[in-house]
């Protein structure tokens, strides 16, 4: 028999959720305006107009109470080139991220510019917003910016001055918001390559072969299953695989009745701590093949393995544990393991 590989086991892992974020009054105004193809800036305590608006003034700490419209056109303040866009970025072909100072604002906004090539974008260049066809009240309603074609403000093009001063008529108009958008959904999807530890990997390979390979701590000699990168008491790696029998007892358990998002086993089911014969630590597993109400602390059980072609590297290779029918273990014999 060829010796088992000692390489570590890998598996893709995806964390994904569509977070629903309530916006509060300031961002609600901002997002609602975006849905209407309008950009609002917050009027800060020092008079500057900030896009996107912070909810609280960075100096006075007061909640922003005045917002005013700014143009959806402005000037590139700085940029960098994204040669290989990442998933969910605003564009899926090469583009620039840039800070864009919109006409009427004093604080630049970070966004994408669809310039086409790094030669086609430069600081000082005018850009204009490209709005999404379908807008819901999120920052993606403004899909990106694109070159506006002129390097200086077109005469009469922008109604807002780009400078340190503002025209009197621009003083903090409070914008009536269309049907308020009060929340935004921001999907977050992260893809990982998950690797197990060498001990977990050895254990997983053993399971596939129908073996339960525990390891003992060389210092305290306690037998750990699954084996660990370090004995939690002594801080040294457990070593020396020990083949354990697939029988043991239930130390304690609960009956799971509640369904929940992401659950993989249909309730009701018994989730129990199983202490295998010869081991010093119990692990959680399923008890089936008996009415949930019949499960008892101390009940003797044996593993029911999945057929070879259904086995994996996880404890799911054991489908569940079922009662052996032997007399229950004496309470004193497992009391210390509770």
């Amino acid at each position: 028999m060829t010796p088992p590989s000692t390489a570590v086991l890998h598996q893709p892992l995806t964390l994904e959720f569509a977070y629903t974020r309530s916006l509060g009054p300031v961002l609600s105004q901002y997002m609602s305006a975006l849905a209407a193809k309008q950009v609002l800036g917050a009027v800060l305590s020092d008079g500057r107009v900030a896009v996107p608006p912070p909810e609280y003034d960075p100096v006075s700490h007061e909640e922003i109470s005045r917002m005013q419209p700014v143009s959806d056109e402005g000037v590139v303040v700085t940029w960098s080139w994204v040669a290989e866009p990442l998933p969910d970025q605003p564009l899926d072909h090469p583009f620039a991220f840039a800070l864009v100072l919109l006409d009427g604002a004093d604080v630049p906004l970070l966004h994408a510019v669809d310039a086409g090539s790094p030669d086609a974008i430069r600081t000082g260049m005018r850009v204009r917003a490209r709005w999404a066809d379908e807008r819901v009240g999120s920052v993606r309603d403004l899909a990106c910016f694109e070159p506006a074609g002129l390097d200086t403000a077109s005469p009469g093009g922008s109604a807002y001055s780009t400078s340190d001063g503002r025209t009197a008529s621009d003083e903090g108009a409070s914008v009536s918001r269309p049907d308020g958008v009060t929340s935004t959904t921001t999907p977050v999807r992260l893809a990982y390559d998950y690797a197990a530890s060498p001990e977990e990997s050895a254990f997983g390979r053993g399971l596939k072969e129908g073996r339960i390979l525990a390891q003992a701590c060389p210092v305290c000699h306690k037998v750990y299953v699954p084996p660990r990168g370090a004995c939690p008491v002594d801080g040294v790696p457990t070593t020396d695989p020990i083949d354990l029998p697939d029988t043991g007892i239930v130390t304690t358990f609960c009956i799971v009745n509640v369904p929940f998002l992401g659950q993989r086993i249909t309730p009701p089911y018994v989730s129990a701590y199983v202490l295998l014969d010869g081991s010093d630590i119990a692990f959680l597993h399923l008890i089936l093949g008996v009415d949930a109400a019949e499960v008892r602390m101390g009940m003797r059980v044996r593993a029911v393995w999945k057929p070879e072609d259904e086995r994996s590297y996880s404890m799911e290779t054991i489908s569940h544990f079922e009662p052996t029918g032997e007399p229950d273990a004496d309470y004193e014999s497992y009391r210390r393991h509770l």
Binding site: Q11, L15, E55, H61, C254, G262, Y273, A292
Partner: protein, 387 residues
């Protein structure tokens, strides 16, 4: 090395709800922070440092959210630390904040803990399958229920104890305007009639999932003197202890780390009989059976006898040692904040500011938090007497 005495001089909490859809994350924190600053009669300019605590970032899908919150919470231009010790985080955050003052480094520290877990789903976030492991337990309840069973077996406690705790805490919550669950019809019978979720734990014996934040201002002796605050809650002692999640023969129902922490706390505060010397306690009870378990773990009752304190009404609001006067975690549970809420409610008691759920004459109170698989413990004793 002597510590600079430190005291809580301001407390602020949000209204805890299943979903705080009326605010953003900054808005949620500011609700608690603004109240704490007002209570302390201070402004942001008076604050020297900010300590933020919350549980896994996965709940809100923001990595290290204190970074984007810096302006909103007044931390810009100041030192800011973010603590994460699983469920005990609210408590350990308060302890880190207290240490900043006790070390002599800062005079006034703002500390806030929060969770806006309605942005995702708490059960989902706590039950994400880890590759190569078997997803057996169903969230936190599924993890703790087997140990509750062990406790009942070991102690011989009557089965209605869990319901008694739940009814007590939920009725206490009616006297707490901030509490999430405020159902006036909770009785022992109604709890016993509720669905069993993870046998033996019932629906009504289980904490809710809440959005919320809790904030405190902790000040040095000198800063207390300089303030107009006449009723500070002096931090008389604090402790943190951790043990591994799983090791051979680990006692899951009466964890060593908790016992060790409590023993250290009583020793360092000169308390020899906590049962009589502590006037009231806010302890972290997310599943009602944890009340008797923690009463033993903390040394208020001998092993196997914690349930008697519940049964005899000792832990009732009108009892000899009221526990969770605010309604506790059973009534409000923004996971990252719950520990701090315990610490803050203990402070409110000795400040005499607990309103309808005030324990008359409370001069010494315990705040307690735990996290992980009952492996992280954070506790403090606050009192009207300077240490």
């Amino acid at each position: 090395m002597t510590k600079t005495p430190a005291a809580v001089i301001g407390v602020g909490q949000t209204h805890y709800r299943a979903k705080r859809e009326d605010v953003s994350m900054p808005g949620l924190l500011r609700e608690a922070i603004d109240r704490a600053l007002a209570d302390a009669e201070l402004t942001f300019a008076d604050i020297d440092a900010v300590v933020v605590g919350k549980a896994p970032d996965l709940f809100e899908g923001v990595m290290m959210p204190e970074l984007f919150l810096a302006d909103a919470i007044g931390a810009t231009g100041k030192p800011m630390i973010r603590v994460h010790t699983a469920g005990s985080v609210g408590g350990s955050t308060a302890i880190v904040a207290a240490s900043l003052v006790q070390s002599g480094v800062h005079d006034r520290v703002l500390t806030v803990a929060f969770e806006k877990q309605s942005e995702s789903n708490a059960m989902w976030a706590l039950s994400i399958p880890v590759p190569f492991t078997m997803p057996v337990h169903a969230g936190a309840g599924g993890f703790f229920a087997p140990h509750v069973r062990s406790y009942i077996r070991r102690s011989g406690a009557p089965t209605e104890i869990g319901a008694m705790v739940a009814a007590k805490d939920r009725n206490n919550a009616l006297k707490n305007p901030y509490a999430h669950l405020r159902n006036p019809d909770t009785t022992i019978e109604s709890v016993l009639a509720s669905q069993v979720l993870w046998d033996p734990v019932r629906y009504d014996e289980t904490c809710p999932s809440s959005d919320g934040a809790c904030a405190m201002v902790i000040a040095s002796e000198g800063a207390v003197k300089a303030s107009g605050i006449t009723n500070p809650a002096w931090i008389q002692g604090q402790v943190m202890r951790s043990e591994p999640l799983a090791y051979a023969e680990r006692d899951q129902a009466n964890p060593w780390a908790g016992r060790d922490a409590a023993a250290h706390l009583w020793r360092s505060t000169g308390i020899t009989d906590p049962r009589t010397e502590i006037d009231c306690a806010e302890i972290y009870v997310p599943f009602s059976w944890f009340e008797p378990m923690w009463m033993e773990n903390l040394g208020f009752a001998a092993e196997g006898e914690g349930w008697k304190l519940t049964e005899q009404g000792v832990t009732a609001l009108t009892g000899d040692l009221p526990v969770n006067m605010s309604g506790g975690v059973l009534s409000s549970n923004p996971i990252g904040a719950s520990g701090m809420i315990r610490f803050a409610e203990a402070a409110l008691q000795v400040m005499g500011e607990a309103g309808e759920h005030q324990v008359d004459g409370a001069r010494r109170a315990l705040g307690h938090a735990y996290g992980g698989g009952s492996q992280f413990f954070a506790m403090w004793v606050v009192g009207s007497q300077k240490p």
